[in-house]
């Protein structure tokens, strides 16, 4: 599988899965989540890999949750809400290897949940954490950071 929304790199036994959508503060759409699920499975069952790092590209955001521009009433993928995010969350727990969230910027909404689920979170002093669902309605969590 070739990836469009993420970067996948193996180095020194660590698999780095990086959400590569800095133009939308690394918000995820259906395809992003599918690619993360695929990459996570690659890392999970590769015997050379002992640890997984989850990261966001650029300096501004780790991840800001579901990309609201990707949907109108539903997200643009499969699953109960149009994003297989529950599958990804389960996978973060089920892979038999530690996962480190590398947080260098915003970890907001669904992005904060991903970091929360990882075994470890290592943050730079510029990281910010929070939930936003009840503030803007759960639809536009990612975009709220753009204004």
């Amino acid at each position: 599988m070739s990836y469009e929304d993420i970067l996948y790199e193996e180095r020194n036994g660590a698999a780095w899965i990086t959400i590569n959508r800095p133009e939308v503060y690394n918000a995820f759409r259906g395809q992003t989540v599918e690619e993360m699920i695929h990459a996570m499975n690659e890392a999970a069952w590769n015997k050379e890999i002992g640890v997984i790092v989850l990261a966001g590209a650029g300096d501004k955001a780790f991840c800001t949750g579901g990309d609201q521009s990707a949907h109108d009433g539903q997200y643009d993928g499969r699953g109960i809400i149009g994003l297989p995010i529950d599958e990804l969350q389960s996978l973060i727990r089920d892979v038999p290897k530690p996962i480190i969230a590398r947080v260098q910027g915003f970890a907001i909404g669904g992005g904060n949940v991903l970091a929360t689920l990882c075994d470890f979170t290592i943050a730079s002093e510029k990281a910010q954490f929070g939930q936003v669902g009840p503030k803007v309605g759960p639809w536009i969590q990612g975009l709220v950071l753009l204004i």
């Binding site: 290592i122 002093e125 939930q131």
Partner: protein, 122 residues
């Protein structure tokens, strides 16, 4: 929104009071606040981040992978019921998305005004 792992599991980490504060008030928390809350293992300078992550990775690589995987699964088992809360939560969320109260959030955002959720409360 991720009721389940986003709420109940978060409460395991930061405690009920802080988790509810995070969800009800939607404030932002700095890295050092997050570290004090137990949400972050370690905070380093922006420039040091990758080196620090790599140090943790090498330490993990020196340990027994099977022992780590058993430990991970045993931690998970204790909070496994939260996976089902998440699944239930997603199902509820799909219904919430289809309400005027939820649409008000989107409309307010697009019109660059504060949302007035209360007028749509049933």
């Amino acid at each position: 929104m991720d009721p389940g792992f986003g709420t109940a599991y978060l409460a395991r980490i930061v405690g009920e009071k802080k988790a509810r504060e995070m969800w009800y008030l939607c404030r932002r928390y700095s890295a050092s606040e997050a570290e004090r809350m137990g949400l972050v293992n370690k905070v380093v300078s922006h420039e040091e981040l990758d080196a620090e992550v790599e140090r943790w990775c090498s330490e993990i690589m020196e340990k027994s992978p099977t022992a780590i995987s058993i430990a991970k699964k045993s931690f998970n088992l204790d909070s496994e019921n939260i996976r089902a809360i998440s699944s239930m939560g997603m199902q509820a969320l799909s219904l919430y998305y289809d309400t005027d109260e939820s649409r008000e959030g989107v409309a307010a955002f697009n019109e660059k005004r504060k949302p007035d959720f209360r007028k749509f409360t049933k």
